[in-house]
Symmetry: C2
Subunit: 688 residues, 2 copies
């Protein structure tokens, strides 16, 4: 066998050829002795990065020659089978010790002398993987829409006059096979200076393989081109700064959305525009100023120049989307809720008055419908419900809940007007999630006494030292979204309220925590400087919100003709803080195996990051959202019906068998049909 | 025969069909009775305009039914063979009496009842002709890059939510077969408002069949969309405002180029940038401000809103081109004279800070080489030398002469550093062409006394009443470009100077007009408050300028391997004012049949106007200029040789047989080889 092999090798060498096998791809081929490894890789379609075009400058094409016995490959490899370490390699190694790994070679300068096995490490691949956490998630493939190319440009020649730009295009075509390129005036204004400063060597950034957007003299090293993924929420704006050559997030940050001063929630901002002509421009300006501050902050934190940021992606709900783009959102304030566009948009960052590289581009993910925004498109990219056989339910709760349901066959989406109760608004002791806010609650089923934890304090309220610890964060100040959900759920589980949400006044006699409050009763959770009581109206607000959410989900289930979901993902801040068990006890979401219910974290932001790092995600999501069936809850007569049925905890008629396996639900009182007061009758604040 | 015809007709009618013949195209076909004429025309490929898509709103599709005996067409026509005058036609006639011609029909509403002959008048054709004056010129075909389309857009539907833009695209595809459209953010910001103001009826302007650039509520009538063709010269900026629906120039105007304060000629402006970093930005800003003023002036004159201007075209020499675009022209100031780009450019007018429609586009014609600019591209569009078998010589004289030579086989081009002498600069009594400047000169061959005419005065200086008449324009102030050419030519013809340009001092004794002037002599043309003398140095300046021009022409002739040209066109202000006979007497241009030498007027500006009105001119000129062979005079060793030979009048060796047929040229003094002083030795001020 060995004889045979040696014979084959000898014969190959006699013919002046050598075989190379690349791992991990396994691609192999025979090439003339002296062929550079990079060239062999190119011909075999092996993915090796290179910015400098094989000049030994960029160091992106490093590979490793595998030693040892590779007889199963029918090839014996040795580093002697490569040309000796070359001068450019030595120069690179000297200059960039940090980027150098001993034992490696620059594949553009290492030449085949005999048979070899060459390993391409992940960081030398163009389409390397960016690792995502979580079992469900596939890794992101790094394939940004902007790439750097280093070229040496022909100098101008009076005997054959042609513009500098033409010679740049020729160099890019000759060295990189890039054709039909174009550039705009801003680049042209910089081009001649860069060419001469760089002594006719330049690095250009090309967007989408077709548009030159930036030029630098000489070679621009890896780790100097960045992108920012932005999630413009009604309350907060979050941004992730990513190195586009490694895919790493190098800094993240968030700021409050300054539009809050024009209105707390979406509808009040649209109302502001209706009442104040030109108010949209003020809000557009406010959000853009905030973005510039945020960008300055995160680039400074990472030691990155703002002018090295070349690409942006945005997710936002429809109203934020329109205001960011300078489109009056007034049409989103009333039926038929018409978007200006439901397509993705590519714009110049400077059209949005963003102070980055003057030619930075921004990609805005597509909105799906008037109330289902680009944020949901981001959630879809991140969660990929279209890749599962199981039915996924994705819920992103804000003042509207954006809901997507389905699997690889079919996806349906809607928005449901939950109102801001889940965020602690319109709750008597409600507040934003901040230190001092009650976020976790337990009620003793016997005594009905409550205990709780507040944000910023590790201890439960009945643990020793709680009073001192909570004083450090400024004491108990109110109750936030996740707290209100837990307290109402615990009130239900402990019998303080019945299935219809009515506080059981008969308890008031024996229990100091249930207190008469005019014609209704309240539940006293905390009796301190700041009293935290849950009023009958607070419970109603939660009922209204959860009924809206559930009714939206039910409508979608009906549309798909299903009566159960397999997986539930709760996106956004709400999803991260909520205890899914309590969400199900209240019937915010339908019955499901609790192990299959999870937070999706900031899935919208993750989707923006994926669209930033992998250009293929863009046409993919554009196609996907076009094929989603949109359901408009406002015109579905059954929505009201589902809504009324969903007022009860967890639901008037739907069974929750899987929930009952983990929680002991109070027996429903089937006789009681409607609550004596409040609730259902006054209703339909539209959106908000 | 008649029986046969009637039979054929009757049978057609029985089959429910009728025949229609369209004139002038002659296209014909059979259609079901009841077919609208416009639809029949579309199917036959007959060119009939329509903006409203057949709704009877735009009135662009008017046609005439021809009466009489059309038996040679084998068809008998009658207006009875069309459906009766319809309500929409009556409505249009009432509303737009001015646009209505009696006897016409709207082809979208007139339906075929029987056989007819239908004439499509020129103004109803999409690709109508715009008449150009001059025997040489083909008419311009009106086919602007921007077109208006009226559409009725589907209203948004909550049951099937989609963005407004998507429905606009759908309407444009459905009604106009326009696909793959795109629009930018600015249009999107206006779209929703226009749709609702227009009750879902809008007119959009589409650029290049692909980009929506403007939207208006409702129907936008003809005569409300304009373009401006601009010629940015070193000295003056000229602009023509054209109605893009008729092709008519509705106003024209010019302003001085305010960059003059940074330097009189091109080279001094480039020098200014070299000496004053940032000076390019100041000049860019100056020219853009001047353009805005000029645009405001001509639109006001025509009663047109600046925001109704949607398209611009620009021609300019390379330095003006770069400064207009905000590109530092410094590279054009020294070898190798590299253009930033030699391609045509399409930019947003607002990138050039031009205050027109916010989405107006500007098309900048391609430069050809470092000294042969987009102005020459304009001359080529206008003069079309590539369509002749005869060899054309095109000369555009400024401080550089841009020269093109060739025919349908081959075109060559160069630029020659004539300097500003032809414009009256660097001439002792020289001045710009303005009232009071001498522009025509005759010298009596016997007495050598000169007589002349000045700009602004009809009389010759020897006619009665001249003194009073010239006083009215402020007296004689100097001599302009055409005057200096004539006086030097007349000095040569009358023997005041010899073939080598030396003023004959021996005349001074007998002739009071030849005067000793240090070591040389002068010729006194006018002896008034302002003396106008032609010095030996003035003659030298003209010799240097004309030798440069001629040497450039000779170089191109050599490149083509020819020794004579068939036609000569002199472009620009210089060409319009010069007497071609004198230009040839001096040897500015080679020998040619004088009948074949003419001014091309403002050919560059005409080229810009053609590129504005007919979009096909754009790819055509882009292709043409790419195939022109560029000759760089600065690196051609033979240029110096030709230059020296061309110092003599009309030339040292080249014969001028055709000129000699119309003018009696003094016999050359063959013995004399070089002038005793001045002239050739000190030389080569580079460009300017």
């Amino acid at each position: 066998m060995a004889d045979e092999l040696e014979l084959a090798q000898a014969s190959a060498l006699m013919e002046g050829e050598a075989q190379v096998v690349f791992t991990p791809s396994g691609r192999r081929g025979r090439f003339p002795v002296g062929t550079p490894l990079l060239q062999a890789a190119r011909q075999l379609g092996v993915d090796i990065d290179s910015v400098c075009g094989g000049r030994g400058i960029c160091g992106r094409c490093q590979v490793e020659c595998m030693e040892g016995d590779f007889s199963k490959h029918r090839i014996v490899s040795s580093s002697d089978h490569l040309s000796p370490f070359s001068e450019p390699e030595e120069r690179y190694r000297q200059r960039r010790r940090k980027q150098w790994v001993d034992g490696r070679r620059l594949s553009c300068h290492a030449r085949l002398l005999g048979d070899v096995v060459i390993d391409v490490p992940p960081e030398s691949q163009v389409h390397r993987q960016v690792v995502r956490k979580g079992a469900d998630y596939t890794d992101i493939e790094l394939d940004p829409v902007v790439r750097l190319y280093y070229v040496e440009v022909q100098e101008p020649d009076m005997h054959d006059p042609s513009g500098d730009l033409r010679r740049v295009y020729q160099a890019l075509e000759y060295e990189w096979r890039l054709e039909n390129l174009r550039c705009d005036l801003r680049l042209l204004q910089d081009l001649q200076i860069a060419l001469r400063e760089g002594d006719w060597k330049i690095t250009v950034a090309i967007h989408g393989d077709e548009q030159l957007i930036a030029v630098w003299p000489g070679f621009k090293a890896a780790g100097t081109m960045f992108g920012i993924a932005v999630d413009v929420g009604s309350t907060t704006i979050a941004a992730h700064l990513c190195d586009l050559s490694s895919g790493k997030a190098v800094a993240s940050g968030g700021v409050m959305n300054p539009q809050i001063r024009f209105g707390e929630d979406l509808m009040s901002r649209v109302s502001y525009v209706m009442m104040h002509p030109g108010g949209d421009r003020a809000m557009t300006s406010a959000v853009r100023i905030a973005l510039n501050k945020l960008f300055a902050q995160i680039t400074e934190e990472a030691g990155v120049r703002t002018t090295d940021v070349l690409e942006l992606t945005f997710v936002a709900n429809p109203v934020m989307h329109h205001l960011l783009l300078g489109i009056n959102p007034i049409e989103l304030g009333g039926a038929p809720f018409a978007l200006a566009t439901d397509a993705a948009l590519g714009v110049w960052a400077n059209e949005l008055e963003l102070e980055l590289h003057p030619n930075a581009r921004a990609y805005v993910l597509p909105c799906i419908a008037g109330h289902v925004g680009a944020d949901t498109a981001g959630v879809l990219i991140s969660e990929q419900p279209e890749t599962f056989d199981e039915i996924s339910l994705l819920v992103d709760v804000g003042t509207n809940a954006e809901i997507v349901l389905g699997n690889r066959q079919r996806l349906v989406a809607c928005s449901s007007p939950t109102g801001p109760a889940f965020e602690g608004a319109q709750i008597s002791a409600g507040q934003r999630a901040a230190p001092g806010a009650i976020e976790r609650v337990r009620i003793d089923p016997q005594t009905r006494e409550g205990r709780f934890r507040v944000i910023g304090c590790e201890l439960w309220s009945d643990e020793p030292g709680f009073a001192e610890a909570v004083a450090e964060v400024g004491g108990v100040t109110g109750i936030c979204g996740s707290g209100i959900i837990e307290v109402v759920a615990e009130m239900f589980l402990s019998g303080v309220i019945n299935q219809d949400g009515v506080i059981d006044g008969s308890l008031a006699a024996d229990c100091r925590w249930v207190i008469a409050d005019g014609r209704t009763f309240s539940y006293l959770l905390h009796d301190g400087d700041v009293k935290v009581s849950i009023t009958q109206n607070d419970v109603r607000q939660i009922q209204l919100a959860k009924a809206a959410l559930y009714a939206g989900v039910r409508l979608l289930m009906e549309r798909l003709g299903i009566d159960r979901v397999d997986r539930i993902r709760l996106a956004g801040a709400f999803g991260s803080h909520i205890d899914v068990k309590y969400a199900m006890v209240l019937g915010l979401i339908p019955d499901c195996d609790i192990a299959q219910v999870a937070s999706a974290g900031n899935a919208a932001g993750t989707g923006a990051r994926i669209a930033l790092l992998d250009k293929k995600a863009r046409p993919y999501i554009e196609e996907l959202v076009r094929n989603i069936e949109k359901v408009e809850t406002a015109v579905e007569p059954k929505f009201q019906e589902h809504f009324i049925d969903a007022m009860a905890f967890p639901h008037k008629t739907d069974p929750f068998p899987r929930l009952a396996e983990v929680v002991e639900l109070p027996a429903p009182k089937t006789a009681q049909r409607d609550t004596p007061e409040g609730g259902v009758k006054r209703r339909r604040r539209r959106r908000g």
